[in-house]
Symmetry: none
DNA sequence: CATGAATGAGCGTTCATTCAT
DNA sequence: CATGAATGAACGCTCATTCAT
């Protein structure tokens, strides 16, 4: 391994360390109330150091969200590639699992997928970042929409705009997570979210099926 | 009209004027990024003047949310009182209408029903305010849960915890509104939200019904 | 009584009403923390009205102090005129009584005789006011100094600069009042100040007497 | 010298620099009129920097006063420990010297020993601070009272409450300092205060002695 | 004359960001 | 590369003062 690579890897480890700390702090306090000092302390670094790895607070924040988006995108691409043959209903079941995995993977980022849409925040990000986020968001929603498109074509789901179905899945999921996070605090959160999500998916799936499939 | 009444009315008009401006600014920028200066400018007043009508930024914000809560509560109480005889499915339809009306009435406040749960924000509000908000929130969720309880008892809806249904309705609705508001900007928003909400309710209702009712 | 006089008298009553309220508020909160609104409320008037009678907050404050100074001056002039014949020691006794009366008359003003010396505050007062305050302050200290001068001449008091004696009396008195006001609160104040003042005067008088007079 | 020690020392120097500037500004303008900006400018720093060293304006102010209290306490403890054998009169003489030293050490803080009693100000200080100030204040007054108690027991001073004597010493001293500071400005102050204090102590001492000791 | 709504200047405080070491 | 001291811009809020009614 060349010196250059080792440096690169070292740098990634540091970014990781910061990211992990930032997630905890952002989740606990929200974007505005989380200070760079807080995050630095959590990462056992100094505030100034954060700026060696991230352009500014917004970019640190966005990079975290980007990770979940990449995670989601990767998993969805995987269904398409490896499990193209399973039924649309089964795909929906897998989608639920993926979202719950994403929830375990990074609650905060999921919650704040919304915020990232805000023009105010986007303005402070570098161009590449914005482009990347937009692209990956599009891929994800397309991927989900594809599931429904297939289901509609096969006569399994009721005939509606596939993009609308995708949107409902995403925003419903986010809504419940956000609501639960707002209500509860501490460690008992996850226990409550999962059953609710299970219920919602059960209901949504049933509601989306054509009569004869119910 | 006595001089006292006129004064009172004049004062209400000012509060209204500030409220309207605040809603616009809070919606556009979010609570933290909206400055009192911004709001004052929008209301064509000076920042100091806002404090003649609202104790502080948080109370201004909360008062806006309180209005929607009151609106929702009033409408829901109305169903119970005047339309107790209609079927649970029909009540769900009415609930949808009420939520869409609330959405027209005040988008921002709906979006931020979440935030108001946060202890941080509640701490800065006056005691009466907190009490009123908590009470009214409880009434609303209870009212919605009642619809489902009745539906379950009558064997119309599948047997799940009524409170969970209520939660799903509220958080799903909020999730979609929040998501849409985040994505779009300006005036074309409402056109998109309504059809999506219609669709969600259609799906949710169907998914909640017992087999024989579908 | 002409209309003009009646108006004049009416005006004086209003000033009196404001002065009384202001004294209470200034005493309770101190100059900076007392707001014009507070004073107005206490006087059962509106804040704006205060400005019809006093140029600004500082002048209202100064006018109160001036009253005590006038009171002190009047009483001291009285000793000189009517009781020129009593011994210097007796005059000291009378001086003590006068100061205690002034204390009853207006605690706050006495406490703040100091503040009025501050160039910062003087800058905000009108010229006439400043002149009047300076003159009357000089008269008072001269009057007190005279008592000691006489005492020294008659061989009753030890031979020191009469002005220094005067200064000691005034600042000692103020020091004790200020200290006590700082320490206690509410209504039990006066009970403590008087015995302490009595003791101080007893000690000071004894300490000032020439050996053979002790 | 380790790097840690150097840092610590550097930090202390900065605090010192701020303290010195703050003393000047507080003395010139009083607590309320002195702005953090003023103090920062005097210390050739930015306002924000002050908050790296002191929690807030009140704590900066209190820390200054605390220093004098500690100085006084230390010196008084010294008399008790090392010079327990000298006569009460001699102790009074030493007390005078100590107070004059404290005056040289920090005029402003002495003047404002009063303010620190105010509940309003105390409320804004951290708990440890309050406790420390209260304790040290108590120690000082007790120490002074002890001198008088001894003097009374030995039949040197007239029989009065020792605490009252202590109070008189402290408030008289403060009264004179405050009065003089109010009257004069700039650099000629100290020249006037000292002779007056000398005189007051001379008079007080004589006035406190029992007949036969005079 | 009296009001009180409105102003606007000013203050204490926070915190993202920079930069000398 | 890492630090953390320092900055300075910004914000919420208060209140003396003004002025139209």
């Amino acid at each position: 391994m060349g010196i250059r690579e080792r440096k690169e890897r070292e740098r990634d480890r540091r970014k990781q360390q910061i990211t992990v700390a930032a997630k905890r702090i952002f989740l606990a306090r929200g974007f505005d109330k989380a200070t760079m000092e807080d995050i630095a302390r959590e990462a056992e670094l100094s505030a100034g150091t954060l700026y060696l790895y991230f352009k500014n607070k917004h970019e640190l924040y966005a990079s975290i969200t980007l990770k979940v988006l990449q995670f989601l995108n990767m998993r969805l691409a995987h269904i398409k590639a490896e499990r193209a043959d399973i039924s649309p209903e089964a795909k929906l079941e897998v989608l639920k699992e993926i979202l719950l995995d994403a929830y375990d993977f990074d609650v905060m980022a999921l919650i704040n997928l919304f915020h990232l849409q805000s023009r105010e925040i986007l303005k402070k990000l570098s161009q590449e970042f914005i482009k990347e986020i937009k692209e990956i968001t599009k891929q994800i929603t397309d991927e989900i929409a594809d599931i429904f498109e297939e289901g509609i074509e096969k006569g399994v789901f009721i005939k509606r705009h596939p993009a609308a179905f995708a949107q409902i899945i995403i925003s419903t999921f986010s809504g419940i997570v956000l609501w639960e996070e707002g209500k509860r605090s501490g460690d008992d959160k996850k226990g409550y979210v999962k059953p609710t999500i299970e219920l919602v998916f059960e209901i949504l799936t049933k509601g989306m099926l054509k009569e004869k499939h119910v």
